[in-house]
């Protein structure tokens, strides 16, 4: 199967979108951006491939309406298999690092690490069931949280110092996540099939049923992985595009990509607001999705996702908890500065004045959106239909305030779009540019695509 790939290397996450020649989206993938951009892109690409295979799998099973229910545990099992592979790598890396370190002879430390890793493996299983509260799918986040929790309890009983354990993890995780391991999707899927039938969700079905299901799934896996996916063109975009691991001809501005992606999903879109980790962009597009003008925030990161990150850190909250908390505010305290540098100090001062946390947060959200509104006005205002993208659009308070301010300033008949997959708009736009390229000069493939066969099949 011939297809194209769009990749968006962001400051916090890297996204990939795979599109077939007819323009149908086959799959999308996401991973955390890391110090090695090439690996980040490659992992996102692999994730998109995996998603494409799951899509094919779903189609291969479409003849049986009950099969859909089996796919949920299968996905979880698949992620768990990936996790276990990564954990093997982490274990080996820690062992190697320990060997070469001044603590090579520290038996207690070696024993403690092994025990922590064993517990990580054991506890992780609970996270890979449908509906389990998993904050993130990224190995770094899941393993890190489990490792730290376990190391803390070991340190508490005085076996080894917490810092020594976490130090080993921190060093190893950098190596693990910047090392690209080929992914054999088919055998992973088969392993996942085997595991998923043992999963608790499937209890209550008879042994015979299990057997039949396993056979059916295995057959579907073989069907779904038969056809080779061949990437013909790849276009990349993203933050700091100078360092993207793509040939120059294969790079498009993120402005163009976000505009085009949003327009593709919501064809009536004429204005796009993207609030990402590092910057805010206000983009105007024409009826073809071509950018007509754009504005970005100035050199300071005030009012971007990063600012919310600082606030969350300052309050000891998760980023995703800010919006809901702010929504519970009785009133919004007026905050005029969105300066990231002063965010912490201002917050502490307001708290010390006895102002309520949620009211301050409501004010902070409002301040951020006010800045975005200025940028929108700067770029030419909001026209008929308006699409909000970027990480911050997942924040319910941010979208609420945006809706209010758009109503106030541009009237209530503006259509405001927010898509659950809005984080993929840039990658989608890049993919559409790659699709264009099929008709003309196809840019050279990036090394991480050119040099790696995706699947062993």
């Amino acid at each position: 199967m011939r297809c194209v790939l769009g990749i968006d290397l962001g400051s916090t996450t890297t996204k990939a979108v795979m599109i077939d020649e007819s323009g149908r989206m086959l799959g999308k993938g996401i991973t955390n951006s890391r110090s090695n951009y090439e690996v980040a892109c490659a992992v996102a690409r692999i994730e998109a491939h995996t998603a494409a295979r799951f899509d094919m799998l779903e189609r291969a099973l479409s003849y049986d309406p009950s099969a859909k229910a089996w796919l949920v545990p299968l996905r979880e099992a698949f992620r768990f298999e990936l996790f276990l592979d990564d954990l093997v790598d982490l274990r080996a890396t820690i062992a190697t690092n320990l060997e070469g370190s001044p603590y090579a002879d520290n038996k207690a430390l070696a024993r403690a690490v092994t025990s922590v890793l064993d517990s990580v493996q054991e506890n992780a299983a609970d996270l890979f069931v449908a509906g389990a509260p998993r904050r993130s799918d990224f190995f770094r986040d899941i393993a890190g949280a489990l490792f730290v929790a376990e190391a803390e309890s070991l340190a508490r009983v005085g076996v080894v110092p917490f810092e020594s354990l976490v130090g080993l993890y921190d060093r190893a995780i950098l190596e693990v996540e910047t090392r690209l391991r080929p992914r054999d999707t088919k055998s992973l899927l088969l392993r996942a099939v085997a595991r998923s039938v043992k999963m608790p969700e499937l209890d209550g079905t008879s042994a015979q049923q299990h057997q039949r299901m396993v056979q059916m799934l295995e057959h579907a896996v073989c069907e779904a992985t038969k056809e080779q996916i061949l990437e013909i063109a790849v276009v990349g975009t993203g933050y700091g595009r100078q360092t993207l691991p793509f040939p120059k001809e294969a790079v498009r501005s993120e402005i163009l990509c976000h505009g085009r992606g949003a327009h593709r999903v919501f064809p009536g879109t004429r204005t796009v607001l993207d609030i990402g980790g590092q910057d805010t962009k206000a983009i105007q597009v024409d009826d073809h999705g071509v950018v007509t003008s754009f504005q970005m925030n100035d050199r300071c990161a005030a009012g971007c996702g990063r600012y919310l990150g600082y606030i969350a850190d300052e309050l000891g909250l998760g980023l995703h908890e800010l919006g809901p908390l702010a929504l519970s505010a009785k009133k919004a305290i007026k905050v005029n500065s969105t300066c990231t540098v002063f965010a912490g100090a201002e917050l502490r001062e307001r708290l010390s004045l006895g102002q309520r946390r949620e009211d301050i947060l409501a004010g902070l959200h409002r301040a951020i959106i006010l800045r975005a509104m200025s940028l929108l006005a700067r770029s030419g205002g909001v026209k008929t239909e308006f699409t909000f993208t970027g990480g911050v659009c997942n924040n319910a308070m941010a979208t609420k305030v945006l809706r209010e301010l758009v109503d106030e300033n541009y009237g209530t008949d503006i259509q405001l779009n927010i898509h659950p997959d809005s984080i993929y708009m840039g990658a989608l736009g890049a993919g559409l540019f790659a699709l264009d390229a099929l008709a003309g000069d196809i840019p050279p493939l990036p090394a991480f695509v050119r040099d790696t066969r995706m699947e062993a099949t």
Binding site: Q242, E254, H288, T292, S293, R299
Partner: protein, 454 residues
């Protein structure tokens, strides 16, 4: 503005001439005290160099020193020096760079100490900060100051009242102050002669600017342009040297047109003219060559710019006029770009975009220069409305490297150029049809227009 691009074709005669002129000028400055020559510090916009020349006074231009310090990577240190002395981070970095340089021994661009001023000639033209700048220098040097207050052209025309105000100051304040320092009376014939020389050089400079109407443009009218305006903006207007320089430059540029060659860049000749841009606002000096490369390597040529008009707007017809020397000096001062009201600036930009057939225009908004910067965002929107040509916006500073975010600026420039590319052939915003690259047409744009665009 007076430093050469190293990789420029060294055979160009005009560059050799400019280099010699600058060298000689700084030699004269270095020897000024022993030669008994008097030194006058003044500003580029609204400079009255012919008057200084006619009285044998040597000009020093602190703005040029500041930008040179920026190019020679000294400005960060000088600015730190000034901030240590109590100057705010918020204010104009030219001023701080100059104050810092003065505090660090006042070593000029050629490595020799600049002579202290015998007079500060405060031409308050188009920039409020000039006034503060010389108030500060006055305290540092404890020397006389003479103010030339040039009223602002709000409506885009020079009224008799404005001209009279400026000529009165010239006749009754400035010339007497200069005569006092020079120790002699102004020779009006010598002044008239210099004005004639100015007009000659101005004629050739305009021809150089307008050569950019050709495709490909033989010059870059912004990055290259700042070298071309160097002599006429600084100490050489009204001199035989300037006449020679601009004659040579014009001949070279016309030769490039005949040969269908593109502009010179820090990396040699630009081979491709993919985008034709008009730029508003001063350049950044601390990463000047990096900044230039962001355009040249993408095949973007700046065909016209407003920064190259801060020291005089000659392409709207103004020439120094020896028959009415004082009046024309006043008109010169009144007509400098930053002394024009925003609506007039907008008209001028619109004219440049149309006359030079630009694909897009770009604003480089510098933190230091409120005179330029305030209103640029509105101008951007209005220009897009009026011309349908896409506008881009970047932010940097003159000589404070802290405000030159290379990745950020490059990102915006590339995004902007890609928007231009994406918009080609679409909608009213497209001034140019698709064309095959590398074809070196020798036709003037005006001729093309006459024949109808393909």
């Amino acid at each position: 503005m007076s430093e050469q691009v190293d990789s420029h074709d060294q055979k160009d005669k005009s560059q050799q001439t400019q280099k010699r002129m600058i060298g000689e000028h700084f030699d004269k400055l270095a020897r000024a005290k022993e030669d008994g020559k008097k030194v006058v510090y003044t500003f580029v916009p609204g400079n009255v160099t012919e008057l200084l020349g006619a009285l044998d006074l040597l000009p020093v231009l602190p703005e040029i020193n500041a930008l040179q310090s920026g190019m020679r990577k000294r400005s960060a240190g000088y600015i730190a020096e000034a901030e240590k002395a109590g100057h705010s981070e918020d204010v104009c970095t030219y001023v701080k760079c100059d104050v810092g340089m003065q505090k660090s021994g006042n070593i000029g661009p050629t490595g020799t100490k600049l002579p202290d001023p015998d007079l500060l000639l405060l031409s308050y033209t188009g920039c409020f900060t000039f006034m503060k700048w010389f108030e500060i220098l006055k305290q540092e040097y404890n020397c006389p100051v003479v103010m030339l207050h040039v009223p602002y052209q709000t409506e885009g025309n020079i009224t008799p009242e404005m001209r009279d105000y400026v000529t009165s100051q010239l006749e009754r304040n400035v010339i007497p102050a200069l005569e006092k320092v020079a120790g002699k009376k102004l020779d009006r014939d010598a002044l008239a002669h210099r004005m004639q020389l100015s007009a000659k050089a101005e004629e050739d400079l305009v021809a150089v600017w307008e050569s950019a109407k050709h495709r490909p443009s033989p010059i870059d009218g912004y990055f290259g342009g700042v070298y071309y305006v160097g002599p006429i903006f600084s100490s050489f207007r009204g001199s035989e040297d300037a006449v020679t320089y601009y004659r040579e430059l014009r001949e070279e540029v016309e030769q490039r047109v005949r040969e269908g060659r593109g502009p010179m860049t820090p990396d040699g000749e630009q081979k491709q003219e993919k985008y034709r841009l008009v730029v508003e606002g001063p350049p950044n000096w601390t990463s000047f060559h990096d900044f230039w490369r962001m355009f040249s390597k993408e095949g973007a040529t700046v065909v016209s710019s407003t920064y190259t008009r801060v020291g005089g707007l000659y392409d709207t017809g103004f020439r120094h006029d020896y028959r009415r020397p004082i009046d024309s000096l006043a008109d010169y001062c009144l007509g400098c770009y930053t002394n024009l009201g925003l609506p007039t600036r907008l008209d001028l930009l619109e004219r440049y975009i149309k006359d030079y057939q630009a694909d897009g225009f770009l604003v480089n908004s510098v933190k230091s220069c409120n005179s330029f910067s305030v209103g640029q965002l509105l101008m951007l929107r209005k220009l897009e409305e009026r011309t349908g040509v896409p506008g881009g916006f970047i932010e940097s500073d003159l000589v404070d490297p802290r405000y030159f975010g290379k990745a950020n600026i490059e990102n915006r420039i590339q995004s902007f150029l890609q928007v231009l590319e994406a918009r080609r052939g679409k909608g009213p915003g497209d001034p140019l049809p698709k064309r095959s690259e590398g074809k070196r047409a020798l036709t003037l744009i005006d001729d093309q227009k006459a024949g109808g665009l393909p």
